[in-house]
Each structure stands twice: as C-alpha cells, then as structure tokens.
C-alpha cells in the first residue's frame, strides 16, 4: 500500500519519456515492411472468414457456385476481393523474406533494406496483376 502510494507520487512527477516516440522519427524502410507484415497478418485473420465463406458457397451446389461468381461481378465485391488478395500477397511475400533471412541470408542492415525494397517491388507487381485479374 505504502509502496504503491510512493510509486504513485513518482509517476505523477516523473515526466521523463519511457520510450522513443516513434511518431516523431523518420523510420527506415525496414520498419514499414515490418509493420505492414503485421497489419496484413491481423487483416488476414479476419479476411480468412470471407475466404472460408467463399469456399463454402463454391462447393455447396452449382447454383451457389454461380451465385458466388455473379456476386463477384459487383464493384464492391471486386474491391473486397482485391483487398483480400493484396493482404495475402503482401503478407506472403514479406513472409518469404522472413524465411530467407531466418536461413541466414541478408541479416545485415543493408540486407534488410534491400530485402524490404524487393518485398515492396514484388508485392506491388503481384498486387497490380491481381487487380488486372479481378477487373
């Protein structure tokens, strides 16, 4: 109790920053590659529900298969499909970068920067191609 009160007084008066405020810093490309991998992973966790739903309809009956194909004709559905594919593509390409680095390749700062550039370039091309396929 006493200790807690003591810590409380410390907390109020202590205005030293606990962490670097990364919002105020210019970050290297590797940081963006990393956080996007995380965001795409969390996004996929939700999107996988849609994918399973699509798989379910596609296998239920010819009619459901056709209605799924018909539904994918709508602009909104196309946009959603493209977003899901983009998330999957980025997460996969960046995931492969992880695997390559885990095997010991490019584990330097320069290697990380190059790997991130390749990841962004390859993902951009694949996401653009996925867009062409969807529309």
């Amino acid at each position: 109790m006493c200790l807690r009160a003591f810590r409380g007084t410390l907390l109020v008066k202590d205005t030293r920053p606990v962490n670097l405020d990364i919002g105020t810093m210019k970050l290297p490309i590797t940081a963006y590659a990393s956080i996007l991998h995380r965001i795409s992973g969390v996004f996929l966790f939700i999107a996988i529900g849609l994918m399973i739903y699509a798989l379910d309809s596609s296998l239920s009956s010819q009619a459901d298969f056709d209605s799924l194909a018909g539904m994918l004709g709508s602009p909104v559905a196309k946009l959603v499909l493209w977003a899901v594919l983009a998330g999957l593509i980025y997460h996969s390409v960046a995931g492969v970068k992880h695997l390559v680095m885990d095997m010991g390749y490019g584990e330097t700062y320069e290697g990380g920067v190059l790997g991130s550039r390749i990841t962004f370039a390859v993902s951009a091309i694949l996401i653009a191609l996925a867009g062409v396929w969807v529309w």
Partner: protein, 119 residues
C-alpha cells in the same frame, strides 16, 4: 527467459518454428488454389478436386496450419500492445480475454472448414 501460459508450444523457440512451418504449408496451399482458379475451373471440376482424398488432406493441413499460425501470430501482436506496461494490470486480463476470443474464432474456422472439405 520469459514464460507465458498463452504460448502455443512449449516455448518461444517452438512457437517460432511452428510459425515458420505453418507459413510454408499455407503458402503452398494458397499458391496451388490460385493456380487452379487462374486456369479457370467449372463447378464439376472444382467439386471433383475438393473431393479427392489428397486434396482433403492438403486442405486439413492448411486449416490446422491456419489455426496454429493464427494463434501464434495474434499472441505476438497482443503481447506487444495489450500489456501491463502499456495499460496497467488490466492489460493482462484484457490480453487473456482477447487471446481466448481469437482462439474461439480459430476454432470456428477449423470446424467450419472441416465441415466444408469433409462434410
């Protein structure tokens, strides 16, 4: 060493390895399905593919990989942001509840997926 009861495997190293292995299975599965879809497929062909035993095994491997990968992945995210350091003791309770919630979602994905490929 940091110990956590909500880890997936026995320790962080085992989680790390499982995360890698499951990612390769998922990648192979998505690449294969993309290849089929890109080549164009009719309902009967699609149906036949998914009723083949090897494809059922492949699908279940992907589903199991998904739930392990998703558990470990979300654990990593939660244990970075929903923590005691950032939100006080209630961070621990919230993190545990969220892990349970995501675990429940994964369980639903698993049963639903099994029903689709084997039902």
């Amino acid at each position: 060493m940091v110990k956590s009861v909500t880890n997936f495997g026995r320790n962080g190293l085992s989680d790390f390895l499982i995360q890698r292995i499951t990612s390769v299975v998922l990648l192979a599965y998505f690449a294969f399905v993309a290849y089929i879809v890109l080549n164009g497929v009719t309902y009967p062909e699609w149906r036949e593919l998914f009723s083949a035993t090897w494809m059922r095994i492949f699908s279940v491997a992907a589903l199991l990989s998904l739930i392990f990968h998703g558990w470990i992945g979300m654990w990593g995210v939660l244990s970075d942001y929903v923590t005691e350091r950032l939100m006080g003791p209630k961070g621990n309770v919230l993190r545990f509840l969220l892990q349970l919630l995501f675990g429940a979602a994964l369980f639903i994905y698993l049963i639903w997926g099994l029903q689709i490929v084997w039902g």
